[in-house]
């Protein structure tokens, strides 16, 4: 039989916290090891604060050699390791393991080299996303992927999650903008994946590594592709009196052969939430707005903006406004990028989903979400990367009410399962982490999950790197199957129940 069952970490640990700290102190200076409760508390969760756990120790190494030594020490003791960048992840990928070590890479914050001619930047993993573009600006270059958290999130975290952003429709995700990753395996081997050339021979381990959520190795250096800054960028804000029309406008733009630099949608709940906070100038009377950007040379932009306007008018836009200055363009985007903080202002808690669907089902899924608002009796604001079909429904709830928490979780799960049903995926860019591990059983078959485990086994046979996340064990899927019968069919019906 070829099925692989995740081995997991030893459930009863044969080491104590003090064993672990002692081993770490042998390879690290004292100030790099944190083990007191008040020191480790800030690391108990990432951006998904619903899940928390305290690690046995937090280490903040300063050199690649120290990272290597930490991994070797943990491998020897059989201690799980969870890597962390800025902790802005939204799926619990950096949540510590209670029996493990949290490996913070914050001190790896140097931009080592920017080469204008080759249009690349070599950076350490703890460098902030936006810092790369700032450093490249004098050369007329920038780093294209721009997750909304770009002022805080790190390149190492972007690599782990394969982050996107509002401009990835045209410029691609992290995987399209990274040339090379230097990483250390749990065995302490330093490996470089990828190459400076556009393609490197053999299995594409770089792509496998990007988005692997810290389960295959720890990044110590990343070579990024930089993009020439366009001469001009302008964004159209298009208003629609109906979400369905806005959705078909998205399809029509793409069908017209236009690839906008960004194509984002916000529904009325979202614009009304954001506008008082950011004052972006959004049309809060519209049922939905689209932000559609064109970039390139002056003539290209003029030409493309005219074509975009023509499409929007044809589909029935009620109002069109084109940014008249760089300041106004940035303000239009600031509203979109601040949707999450704005949600935090109007609701005690919010839960952000990340399902991605084939674009043509946008209207159908949005209508279904509106129905679910009634069913679960919770409000849900929609902001999303419409061009990619990547939804970010924000479910607003109050964590002081256990009942609301439960309804929010059920609401989220229902959205994700709907995404899979229409041919999509449970996560477009935030990763699986802890949060969506159950839905993995819905999206993937047992044979597909087995293939994931085969990859994992090749890199980390003892499953010490970020264990118990991303790829569910069969036991977990069976358990989940008991609770959530999907579309009338029990997932993994052939499995023995545990």
């Amino acid at each position: 039989m070829n099925t692989i069952v995740g081995t997991g970490v030893k459930s009863v640990s044969d080491y104590t916290a003090s064993d672990v700290v002692k081993a770490l102190l042998q390879v690290l200076p004292e100030h790099c090891v944190l083990s007191r409760l008040e020191d480790t508390r800030p690391y108990e969760c990432d951006g998904l604060s619903l899940y928390r756990s305290l690690p046995m120790a937090v280490v903040l190494p300063e050199t690649e050699k120290q990272v290597q030594d930490v991994l070797i020490a943990c491998r020897r003791l059989g201690v799980p390791v969870v890597a962390r960048g800025a902790g802005t992840g939204l799926s619990g990928g950096a949540m510590p393991h209670a029996q493990g070590v949290l490996l913070g890479l914050a001190k790896f914050n140097k931009i080592k080299h920017i080469d204008r001619d080759a249009a690349i930047a070599i950076v350490e993993p703890g460098v902030r996303n936006l810092a790369v573009s700032e450093a490249a600006a004098p050369f007329g270059l920038y780093y294209a992927p721009d997750p909304s958290s770009q002022i805080a999130c790190t390149i190492g975290g972007n690599v782990a999650e394969n982050s996107g952003g509002v401009h990835c429709l045209k410029y691609g995700l992290t995987v399209h903008n990274v040339l090379k990753v230097r990483m250390i395996t749990i065995d302490g081997e330093i490996v470089e994946l990828g190459s400076m050339a556009p393609d490197s021979p053999g299995p594409d381990l770089l792509s496998v590594f990007i988005g692997s959520e810290g389960m295959l190795g720890v990044v110590t250096e990343v070579t990024l592709k930089l993009t020439p800054k366009p001469a001009l960028a302008r964004v159209i804000m298009a208003s629609f009196d109906d979400v369905e029309k806005a959705s078909s406008a998205v399809a029509e733009i793409i069908a017209a052969g236009i690839i906008p630099a960004g194509l984002e949608m916000m529904d009325q709940q979202a614009t009304q939430m954001v506008e008082p906070f950011v004052k972006a100038g959004y049309d809060t009377s519209a049922a939905a707005i689209l932000l559609c950007e064109s970039d390139g040379t002056v003539e290209e932009v003029a030409d493309e903006i005219a074509r975009m306007e023509e499409v929007f008018q044809r589909v029935g836009a009620t109002r069109l406004q084109v940014s008249e200055s760089e300041t106004q363009r940035l303000l239009f985007w600031a509203g979109r990028k601040n949707a999450f903080p704005a949600a935090g202002r109007v609701s005690p808690d919010y839960y952000c989903m990340d399902g991605t669907i084939p674009r043509r089902n946008l209207g159908r899924v949005l209508n279904a979400i509106a129905e679910m608002e009634k069913r679960f009796n919770l409000r849900c604001a929609n902001v999303f990367h419409a061009g990619d079909g990547n939804l970010h429904p924000l479910i607003l709830f109050d964590s002081n009410s256990a009942d609301e928490v439960q309804r929010a979780e059920d609401f989220g799960a229902a959205i994700l399962e709907l995404c899979v049903e229409v041919g999509g995926t449970i996560t477009g860019e935030h990763g699986v982490g802890m949060e969506k591990i159950n839905q993995m059983c819905v999206q993937f078959s047992r044979d597909e999950l087995d293939s994931f485990l085969r990859v994992k086994r090749a890199f980390d046979p003892a499953t010490l790197l970020n264990p118990e996340k991303v790829v569910p064990t069969l036991a977990r899927c069976a358990e989940y199957g008991k609770m959530h019968v999907h579309g009338g069919a029990l997932p993994f019906a052939d499995l023995p129940r545990f």
């Binding site: 081997e189 299995p203 295959l216 995926t425 996560t427 477009g428 078959s445 293939s451 085969r454």
Partner: protein
């Protein structure tokens, strides 16, 4: 060592029980005829044929499952076969076994015009695909020259003349259906445009050259046919000038759809072979895609850059038939080159370097080739930093083979030292295995080996390709 020497590998005869089961299931579509085996034992590389022991023609995913399952059970090597147009010995049955021909699986399964994707069976060729979807207003851009099958293109991570604009198969395969070595059918991804759920199995299988699984369905991205297309030829005094012009255009962010370099010898060969009247100096072939005004603007900008780098005036090919003649000539450059020296065979290189090092790399290569005892041509997808040298060799003169291999090694070493790669698009196959250690390092190779053994513990899938499992080898 390189071609044309045959490899000495132990071959085991097929077990009788295995043969009987395949015969029963596939009837006429199972063959051990010499002619059929010969056809499946070679590709476009210079390697001598190495025949499989049998050929099976599969028509469905379920039939592929049946063959893979039997091969795994009897531990018989299995090599997927599409159009047979690969260049590096990918298809050669060095350990015998079964060649699994999927060329009969050549249907479009579903065209999703709104989402701009199409799902096809692996044997469909890129030209067949484009003919069949023409009415949708969409097209599939990747164009490796040969009329390769989509399955083969995914397996070798093919690219081609317009990768500079549209990317390679790495960027354009959305999802694959794959039969694993265990005979399980998996889908590597959904049709959504992006996903961060689980490891990126799609890109693991793309470029794995049949060593990790057998592809039975391919979903690729399609693009709207551009509103306006124009092509131009620009002659230069030297290869270096031409390359400098391309570097400037890329650095300015001009979205070139295609930019191809041909050296003087390649132009001469194409004039003779394709009956053209191009001026015989190094030249660039450009193609611009976009709206009327953006095509015009791009072309003006590039003409300006060409002049600054000593280029002559553009010669335009605006009519579709002129453009097609030009690109057909470029695609036939390989065969045109061979005609320069009747009866010759070629040793082909495929290095790719960062664009900032391209001029340096091409110059060093050119001066080395000038001293060689045989003729050669250079053509290149210069927008990607990728170029090919065709060394035209007398098959009866082993000294020429050895000399060409020395030059090949130097070219690859130089490319790797410049942070480039030994193969930009042809894949590893047999020919490039020798360079992988130098390029990736032993630790990365050992990870690749572990991936291989983890997916295919019995080593039945295209054994002996890409990486050697034998540590001593």
């Amino acid at each position: 060592m390189n071609a044309p020497h045959a490899l000495q590998v132990l071959r085991k005869p097929l077990p009788a029980d295995f043969v009987m089961q395949l015969q029963n299931r596939f009837g006429d579509r199972f063959s051990i005829a010499q002619a059929v085996r010969e056809h499946h034992g070679k590709d476009e590389s210079a390697y001598p044929a190495m025949l499989p022991d049998a050929v099976v023609f599969a028509l469905t995913t379920q039939e592929v499952v049946a063959v893979v399952t039997l091969c795994n059970q009897f531990q018989v090597p299995l090599i997927p076969y599409g159009a047979g147009s690969s260049l590096e010995g990918h298809l050669l049955a060095i350990e015998g076994g079964v060649s699994l021909d999927v060329s009969g699986m050549n249907q479009i399964i579903s065209l999703d015009a709104e989402d701009q994707t199409v799902t096809v069976q692996p044997g469909l060729t890129r030209k067949q695909l484009n003919e069949q979807i023409r009415d949708s207003g969409l097209f599939f851009p990747i164009d490796p020259g040969a009329d390769a099958s989509l399955g083969g293109m995914a397996s070798t991570r093919a690219s081609g003349t317009n990768a500079v604009r549209y990317g390679t198969m790495r960027e354009n395969v959305v999802s694959l259906t794959v039969v694993t070595a265990q005979g399980k059918v998996i889908r590597t991804s959904r049709r959504a445009r992006k996903s961060s759920a689980g490891y990126d199995l799609t890109r693991l299988f793309v470029g794995s050259e049949g060593t990790l699984g057998v592809i039975t369905e391919v979903t690729v991205k399609l693009y709207p046919q551009p509103e306006a297309v124009s092509a131009a030829v620009c002659n230069f005094q030297t290869v270096n000038d031409a390359v400098q012009c391309v570097i400037s255009a890329i650095q300015m962010g001009v979205p070139l759809a295609r930019v191809e370099l041909m050296d003087k010898a390649a132009v001469h060969a194409s004039n003779k072979y394709s009956k053209l009247t191009l001026q015989e100096t190094p030249l660039l072939l450009f193609e611009f895609h976009g709206s009327e005004s953006s095509v015009k603007e791009q072309a003006e900008l590039v003409q300006e850059l060409a002049r600054e780098n000593g280029g002559m005036d553009f010669e335009w090919a605006d009519r579709t038939e002129d453009r097609n003649r030009l690109w057909t000539a470029r695609h036939n450059a390989y065969f045109a080159g061979l005609q320069l020296r009747p009866g010759c065979r070629s040793n082909t290189t495929d290095v790719c370097v960062p664009i900032s090092r391209l001029a340096e790399c091409v110059n060093a290569t050119t001066s080395e080739l000038e001293k060689a005892s045989f003729p050669s041509t250079i053509v290149g997808h210069v927008g990607d930093g990728n170029f090919h040298v065709l060394m035209l060799l007398d098959p009866n003169n082993p000294a020429e083979w050895d000399e060409s291999e020395r030059i090949n090694h130097n070219i690859v070493r130089r490319a790797i030292e410049m942070d480039g790669t030994c193969t930009g698009e042809h894949g590893v196959g047999l020919h490039k295995m020798q360079f992988l250690d130098q390029e990736h390092g032993e630790d990365a190779l050992s990870l690749m080996r572990m991936i291989k053994t983890s997916f295919d513990p019995n080593n039945i899938l295209n054994p002996g390709k890409i990486i050697s499992l034998d540590l001593a080898g």
